[in-house]
Symmetry: C2
Subunit: 513 residues, 2 copies
């Protein structure tokens, strides 16, 4: 068996360019059929190199890579230590002969509905379940990082090594020891009132958000705020403007129950609002990150802000303003959209994960007055948690001097780490960093790849070296013009960054050759 | 103004017994119209006594009370300190003249769709949002309990006063101080592997659950497990068998996105499975609490278990087995449905709230093998949390000797508190406790009310005295033949129980006269 056969059986792959089904999905289906029903690819058979197959089929290499990625995510193939990819025996067995259990046949009703996608593992799922499969990313493999306090280059993780753990645990222990039973029993569905007051006053200070504490709803992470808003504001089939590239989890939550995502391109001034409104005039809601676009870092221009607010106002549409960074102010505090003149159509969503630690799992949203009454009722049954003791601890921490000091510290550390990473990228890879038009710190950057290198291939090989990273296309609905890497540096100390960038440069140079 | 006018304007209320709209909803609508558009009931006008109005209209008193309850929950009326209920000025203002903001008019598209319910506060919501309003309970008022460690008679709360807080916080602090960054950064969407192993082995021991740790998915509380399963297994309009009375939050989550709840009555042998299958042959899923029916305490009979499992097997339907008590064994460990012969159609859902503290917010489900693959992909994007440090702490605690000792302690304490509460009820109110057919402890009981006393009225007056309780009808979809109180005793020490029962007996005797 050669490790990279040049071709596949000639009759195996039929691609129809006039079909609405994306080419990579057609390719994926052909390949699963060859592995499964048609038994043309036995377990252990290596797949052709992506470049060769792309050439043979006359498709882009990205198309092949996306199909390969999905095959692997679904367990149909696996990577070999020495490189190359082979068909797994498990996949062949599963695809050929579904187990005899009732379950394996349980999905007939659903399969008869026949949507695209991975039919094997979706057999027993509802249409909704298969929709979620389509929205889900392939699970990332996480390999222990070089040092226990470094996570190169995980996105959205702040400097955990400077988090004042001792202060935090002291506050938590005190809280738990002295908490009345109601704090442990979780009786407060809208959130712990003192924390809601703190959030309201801090957002006023750093983002100009105007609200009463009664408008603040505390949730388990920002995703649950988005999910509650989705179910309260959108119906099946409603259109939602989302940034492309954009924040995957919130976007996926938006579409989870049947809203239709309408991707809007992003440039150096943020989401191209006019383009979006022109192409999707019937949208009911826009999900945006105006303060610092995720993941490009662009700030939504004043002109576009006005357009967006005016649209929401005249079309009775909603804006969800997602601020992944939450409360802390940058060198120049940026006003929230919610603080603008038509802010009554805006729901501001933030979280504490970016300033404390992602595992704190506390998010919040600031509701317009008109939504407070209905959401109070809905939250009483549908907002589960977060833990009141955690909320009380966060409140103790955030209203203490610890927090201001910690935020200052984070900003310094993040700025240093950005500078160091940028330098190492230049030194070992090239002048690849896409400079966001703002100099504030943030915790990730976007670094271009050479034109013929696929981000997913870099990701895969880096992962094998213990380096977690996401290609830009991971955040995209439409394929990006040029792929890039999104590199989080928040939790990567300088020596680790240097080490990881050197390994990464090897990977990229190998793939370029 | 007399405090209880005997009647309402004669032309105000029209009830149509042939309409599919429940009488209490017709009554509620008539009353809101009289308060709002028709201006027949000015702010400050008292409503007639429920008994009198029921007599006048020839409807049951429960019908009137349900309508009144909803009026109050929606802010159309409020209770007076001295008793009686009056129309609020806010309600009248809101109903008459929506605020001039864009928001107040934003719901036109939705209002045009014209579903029943509270139109005022639902104006800006989607159909889904209004569905959720309908599923939501009125927010309960929580009044500080007599002692900080007592919560009379909150349901589902264990003895928090005996929780070993010091041991817990020590484990948590150690975890946090020594945790590698990945624990704080939340990279494990299926749960912390060691905890999944612990759950699998403990469930095998105490419930006979057969599973590999790879089948265990850890979620933020049991509700999120139910929500994920709902979205993966059900489509809009699919029918779900639920127990009546039953667990409100999980039931509401089931229906949140458009599945149709089919209530099945409960008797001393649990859900009336045959009745349910006969009346709703097209159900896709059954949500049950077979181990100890919530809230009645009945154990699902062996015969009904068989019927249910056979149905799931032949109809390719799913069973969600919800075990609100989670892991600990009772005096006689009860086998889970999942452990039965057709267990591959069963998803077992449990949580740690009932043995640690509700605020720990960690639930889990045990997936059939066929769901592991698709759910792994879905969870990677849609399962947010729970905090890995909390999971690690729970694992440390649950696998230590602390846990076994704590569970033993809880069972003793709960049994004592049940005995004490039963005694006090007999002494001050009468022989009212509905005896569940099992003698295991649990943390709540059901106590009958005199035939002419409405649970909601008792709830309201008890609440004013700082006593939280839920009437049985709170857990019902169809009105119960006879109302009762569901009294949680887990977190009520003996002196508090005595104190609260004496106050409660005053309330009940006053209402009986």
């Amino acid at each position: 068996m050669s490790s990279h056969p040049r071709t596949l059986p000639a009759d195996g792959i039929r691609l129809d360019r006039s079909s609405p089904v994306p080419l990579y999905q057609q390719l994926y289906r052909s390949l699963t059929a060859m592995i499964g029903e048609r038994r043309q690819l036995a377990p252990g058979t290596p797949l052709p190199a992506s470049r060769a197959l792309a050439q043979d089929l006359g498709v882009s290499r990205n198309t092949v890579l996306k199909a390969y990625e999905q095959l692997q995510a679904d367990g149909h193939t696996k990577g070999l230590a020495g490189g190359g990819t082979v068909v797994t025996s498990a996949a062949a067995r599963r695809t050929r002969a579904p187990r005899g259990s009732a379950l394996a046949e349980a999905g007939d009703r659903h399969v008869a509905l026949g949507e695209a996608g991975d039919r094997r593992s979706a057999r027993s799922l509802s249409r909704g379940g298969r929709r979620m499969m389509g929205l889900a990313a392939a699970p990332a493999d996480h390999i222990p990082a070089p040092g226990p306090w470094d996570l190169p280059f995980a996105v959205g993780v702040p400097a955990l090594d400077v988090f004042p753990v001792a202060q935090w645990t002291r506050l938590y222990s005190t809280r738990l020891r002295t908490a009345p039973a109601r704090l442990l029993a979780e009786l407060d569905s809208f959130g712990y009132r003192p924390l809601r007051e703190t959030i309201a006053s801090q957002l006023a200070l750093t983002r100009g958000v105007r609200c009463d504490p009664s408008q603040v709803l505390v949730t388990e992470g920002p995703e649950h705020a988005v999910a509650l808003l989705r179910d309260c504001l959108l119906d099946h089939g409603d259109e939602v403007l989302v940034e492309d590239p954009g924040h995957r989890r919130t976007r996926a939550e938006m579409a989870r129950t049947g809203a239709v995502l309408r991707p809007v391109p992003v440039d150096e001034h943020g989401m191209r609002v006019e383009w979006g409104l022109e192409h999707h005039p019937d949208a009911r809601l826009a999900l945006v990150t105006p303060g610092r676009q995720f993941p490009t870092g662009a700030v939504l221009s004043a002109r576009r802000r006005e357009k967006l607010l005016a649209w929401a106002d005249t079309h009775q549409a909603w804006i969800i303003e997602h601020d992944p960074e939450g409360i802390p102010k940058g060198p120049r505090p940026r006003a929230a959209l919610q603080a603008g003149p038509a802010g009554q159509n805006v729901v501001y969503v933030g979280a504490f994960g970016a300033t404390l630690f992602p595992g704190v799992r506390i998010g919040y949203c600031v509701l317009p007055e008109a939504l407070v009454d209905p959401m109070s009722r809905i939250a009483a049954t549908f907002n589960h948690g977060p833990s009141l003791t955690s909320q009380a601890t966060v409140n103790d921490f955030v209203s203490s001097t610890h927090f201001a000091a910690h935020v200052d510290r984070l900003q310094t550390v993040h700025a240093e780490r950005r500078a160091h990473l940028t330098g190492e990228l230049r030194r070992y890879i090239g002048d690849t960093v896409r400079h966001a038009p703002i100099e504030t710190a943030g915790t990730h950057l976007v670094s271009d790849l050479p034109p013929d290198v696929a981000g997913s291939e870099v990701q895969e090989q880096a992962c094998a070296l213990g380096i977690t990273l996401r290609p830009l296309h991971h955040y995209c609905l439409a394929a990006p013009a040029r792929d890039a890497l999104v590199l989080g540096f928040g939790c990567v100390r300088a020596p680790t960054a240097t080490y990881a960038i050197r390994r990464l440069s090897d990977v990229i140079h190998r793939l370029t050759r």
